[in-house]
């Protein structure tokens, strides 16, 4: 059902919801950009509608809400283990269509790849998603190529126009909040074209591993892992045990975000590791995003948000690399 409200109404509703929920949305962090006197837009907790940044792309995705950058799994003291408490409040997450498609990929790994993940599920099962529309495409976006530019899977859609707030509500619990409002027709804004487009070759196969194209990245990539950390579909983690300096017998086990580009990702005890060459790490990531994930789940992992291209300090373009795969395939087919 669609509704028209003003900012005061929606702020009152946010206040009401904040008894049960923490509301996360792209937010301006003044002066926290990479360079001096620059700002950064990333996810944070918001109180009012004006806290939300609608006209810029969030540098990081919503994923840190469902999969915290560092998440304590349990505390230990000698032979006793205590599971960490679940967050006291559930999460409401403002996000765009591409990111909502990315939630499905996170669910694949954390709810459907083998058994369910206990920690993910306890946040995910009560989380609600509010869609932010896209009137225009942002720089480096290629959601249309990845078919993630539209979605119907939201609990609510919200758009601000001047002092007016328009909503399309699907979730039954949210619907109760608007019972007295007049019902109007609201359709989300979706982009239907991007400046960047990618094309994944039909004949793409593992043979492309042998292409020379990966060598371009061997020295360019500095293995910083930023592309993985900003990606809404990268979900790898590493276990980390820490203990408290005042009492070495007590501590906690955490899981922290991991990156397949960063040194040590495949290191095994005894010294063996794989993909020492950074070009091969690029190959591993790119093929995961647009080849092997689809074999397993039926659609590509990449949702085309372009954040990897936004963040790379070496100006490596993922979308460009995907578009080189066609030549890569031709090259290796020529070899045989």
């Amino acid at each position: 059902m669609g509704y028209k409200l003003d900012k005061t109404d929606i702020n009152n509703i946010f206040k009401d919801l904040s008894k049960e929920y923490l509301i996360y949305a792209p937010k301006l962090f003044e002066g926290e950009g990479t360079y001096s006197d620059t700002d950064r837009v990333r996810y944070g907790e918001i109180k009012t509608i004006d806290d939300i940044v609608f006209d810029k792309k969030a540098l990081y995705s919503y994923k840190e809400v469902l999969l915290p950058i560092s998440e304590t799994l349990f505390f230990f003291t000698e032979d006793t283990i205590k599971e960490s408490d679940a967050p006291k409040k559930s999460a409401i997450i403002f996000l765009r269509s591409c990111d909502l498609h990315a939630v499905k990929r996170m669910d694949d790994i954390y709810l459907r790849n083998g058994q369910e993940d206990y920690y993910y599920k306890r946040i995910r099962e009560n989380a609600k998603f509010i869609l932010m529309g896209c009137e225009d495409s942002f720089e480096n976006c290629f959601c249309v190529s990845m078919e993630t530019n539209k979605t119907e899977e939201y609990d609510a859609y919200l758009k601000v126009n001047g002092d007016d707030v328009y909503l399309d509500v699907k979730d039954a619990e949210f619907e109760k909040l608007f019972i007295t409002n007049e019902n109007i027709d609201i359709k989300p804004d979706f982009v239907t074209s991007n400046d960047v487009s990618v094309s994944v070759p039909e004949n793409l196969s593992l043979d492309v591993m042998k292409s020379e194209m990966w060598k371009d990245y061997s020295s360019r990539c500095i293995a910083c892992g930023r592309c993985n950390f900003v990606c809404p579909t990268c979900t790898c983690f590493t276990m980390q045990d820490i203990f408290y300096t005042d009492n070495g017998k007590a501590g906690e086990r955490r899981r922290v975000w991991a990156s397949c580009h960063v040194d040590g990702f495949t290191n095994m005890a005894g010294g063996h590791s794989f993909r020492l060459d950074k070009g091969q790490r690029m190959r591993f990531k790119v093929l995961h995003k647009v080849y092997d994930y689809k074999k397993k789940w039926g659609y590509h992992m990449c949702v085309g948000c372009g954040r990897c291209d936004d963040i790379c300090p070496e100006y490596i373009s993922f979308s460009n690399c995907v578009n080189k795969l066609k030549d890569g395939m031709e090259e290796v087919e020529g070899n045989e």
Binding site: N113, K121, L206, T235, F237, T238, T266, L287
Partner: protein
């Protein structure tokens, strides 16, 4: 709510069998379904976790043969005495006994690679009539590195056993040479009824499988077991993924017809 698989349980160390200075078998208390080829995460609060293959299955126990090579395993060796360890598992698939029954079975193991297949060797050593023939080629670096010496003595009576070391002093009387040396000399009655298992370091597996393919053994009659970094063991952390395969979920045991496509 789903089970919290990340919380480890305490397991009593029932016995410690010392093979070499740096390789011990820890016989751990465990009640539950577990099969050869599977692994546990040995989970030491403060130090972390390490995936360790099951090297033997007893009444209410599992054996974990641990090589002292890293942070977690160092700590186990230093401080295990008369104690307990936190574990979680078992995880992964298994060597299915059914795949090897009534076959001429050949197992080739390099070093600690013997651990994950030891359950299979134990089974056919105790039930030798269930295989047409059973050969184990076990290779170690030197005579001092030989693992499972007591088991080897027992196996010698029931199966065809070739124990070899890569290098040894001149006066060593046993076999010296790589495991691959013995493969062309094997007497095989029916090449189509052979089942091969190869487990060891990546380079050893590569050359060993190549020898069997040279003999004309079909790819789908060869099984391998893979080792990778794993942080979760349950398909989440992503470290062990190769192509669309998760070693922890889909493996560690693979038929070679699938396993040959696993390029990191």
């Amino acid at each position: 709510m789903s089970k919290n698989e990340y919380i480890p349980f305490l397991s009593e160390i029932k016995e410690v069998i010392k093979h070499t200075e740096i390789e011990y078998t820890f016989r751990m208390e465990f009640e539950g379904d577990v099969k050869p080829g599977q692994f546990f995460e040995v989970s030491l609060p403060k130090f972390g976790e390490a995936p360790i293959s099951v090297s033997g299955i007893g009444e209410g126990t599992v054996d974990l043969t641990i090589r002292r090579v890293g942070l977690v395993t160092n700590e186990i060796f230093n401080n295990y005495v008369g104690d307990k360890l936190f574990l979680r598992g078992p995880y992964g698939n298994r060597f299915e006994i059914e795949n090897y029954k009534n076959k001429e079975v050949i197992v080739v193991a390099g070093g600690t690679g013997l651990s994950p297949v030891k359950g299979i060797v134990d089974y056919f050593s105790n039930n030798s009539s269930e295989a047409k023939a059973f050969t184990l080629i076990a290779g170690f670096k030197s005579p001092n590195d030989v693992l499972f010496k007591d088991d080897i003595k027992m196996w010698e009576n029931n199966i065809n056993l070739i124990l070899t070391v890569d290098n040894a002093e001149d006066r060593y009387e046993g076999n010296v040479g790589m495991v691959t040396k013995y493969i062309p000399e094997l007497s095989i009655k029916d090449i189509n009824n052979v089942a091969v298992i190869v487990v060891g370091p990546p380079i050893m597996m590569k050359f060993t499988v190549a020898e069997f393919l040279k003999l004309g053994i079909e790819e789908n009659n060869i099984w391998i077991s893979q080792e990778r970094k794993m942080c979760c063991g349950i398909g989440k952390c992503g470290h062990c993924k190769i192509d669309d395969t998760y070693i922890c979920l889909d493996g560690p045991v693979f038929n070679y017809s699938k396993g040959k496509f696993l390029v990191d």
